[in-house]
């Protein structure tokens, strides 16, 4: 029996430097993420300042933002299939205008973190989050996303996405049912509906200056 020889010409070094760099990145991130990042509500106003929008049409903007939440692809594990089921015919997330799943994080608004996050994956998730354009939201889906779930005690699992990225809505369950995810999305929509843009002007509008 003749067995085909494996393709010989290898373009990669077998002991790549790249692996070590990436491993080092992981270690750095692991050392940094000791405490959870607090809920974005606490510093949301500050982040919105970056978005220059001198207008009083909060209602319109919030309406638009909450009715067109495009999801980025970040589906590490089991919950992904509950997300896909949510996108499927029975639960049909497309009713909310969310069936557009952007592969490019630049064009997405919402990260539904479906599944267990490992330390090896953590830098990549952080990168996806950083690449997303403001305003952006995160739903931590599943027990693993909230706290690490049944894998929390493992040596390679991040106990909850909030160590890596700020999370807006937590949807528990292992995995959460599609109804639960839809409820989470509704919660997020309610949260967006409450948002308003405050612009700190460099000068007071009325001449009076309040003291104390």
């Amino acid at each position: 029996m003749e067995v085909e020889k494996p393709v010989e010409s290898r373009c990669f070094d077998l002991q790549t430097e790249l692996d070590r760099t990436e491993g080092a990145n992981t270690e750095v991130l692991k050392a940094k993420s000791i405490a959870p990042i607090p809920d974005p509500d606490e510093w949301l106003e500050k982040s919105l300042e970056r978005n220059i929008l001198l207008t009083t049409v909060d209602t319109l903007v919030d309406w638009a933002r909450r009715s067109a939440l495009w999801t980025v692809i970040c589906f590490p594990a089991c919950c992904a299939f509950e997300f896909i089921a949510t996108a499927g015919p029975r639960f049909d997330i497309s009713r909310f205008g969310m069936e557009i799943i952007r592969a490019s994080p630049r064009q997405a608004d919402l990260m539904i973190t479906a599944g267990t996050l490992t330390w090896k994956m953590a830098p990549q998730v952080r990168r996806i989050y950083d690449q997303m354009a403001e305003p952006k939201w995160v739903i931590a889906m599943g027990a693993c996303g909230c706290s690490g779930g049944i894998f929390a005690s493992s040596y390679s699992v991040v106990p909850g996405y909030n160590r890596i990225v700020p999370v807006d809505v937590y949807v528990p369950g292992c995995p959460p049912r599609p109804e639960a995810l839809l409820y989470g999305v509704r919660m997020l929509q309610n949260k967006i509906a409450r948002e308003h843009v405050d612009i700190k002007l460099p000068f007071p509008l009325t001449g009076t200056k309040k003291e104390g």
Binding site: L14, D19, E22, T26, Y155
Partner: protein, 146 residues
């Protein structure tokens, strides 16, 4: 129905070829010495009586005194199977010859054992960490990893 070959029977046949190769044999498994592993494996694969052309699985277990590398071999043509083992008594730098040259399926299994159990496979074409990142301290599946 797959016949599970008796370890002692197989051990006799192996011993007729390589008299010193067998370390131990029971009904379930054959334990060969590490230095004879490649020869025995080649014999098992190529001899028409055994024809073990398929490596089902390969794993390792930590027994404090030694590491045991376990091969599950089977023959798709003759439909029988065998559990082959080898023991590695070195704890600091355990090394076992790689069987990649015989069964390519061993490639990823050996990498996994190297990563999680810390056993080096000499002769493996691309032995590096597979599931954990470079720079991870220790080998998690060892019993002394906390």
């Amino acid at each position: 129905m797959t016949v599970s070959l008796s370890g002692t029977e197989v051990a006799k046949q192996i011993a007729s070829q390589f008299p010193e190769a067998i370390a131990e044999s029971s009904n379930q498994a054959v334990v060969v010495k590490t230095e004879y592993l490649l020869k025995v494996a080649e014999f098992l694969k190529n001899s028409p009586d055994f024809d073990f052309n398929y490596l089902n699985d390969m794993t390792a277990a930590d027994y404090y005194d030694y590491f045991e590398v376990v091969f599950q071999l089977s023959s798709l043509n003759l439909n029988h199977k065998l559990m082959l083992k080898t023991r590695c008594y070195e704890r600091l730098k355990p090394a076992v010859p790689s069987v990649c040259c015989l069964w390519r399926g061993a490639e990823l299994m050996e990498r996994e054992i190297y990563d999680l159990m810390g056993i080096t496979f000499t002769g493996h074409p691309n032995l590096k960490r597979i599931v954990l990142w470079e720079g991870f301290q220790g080998h998690p599946l060892r019993k002394d990893y906390l």
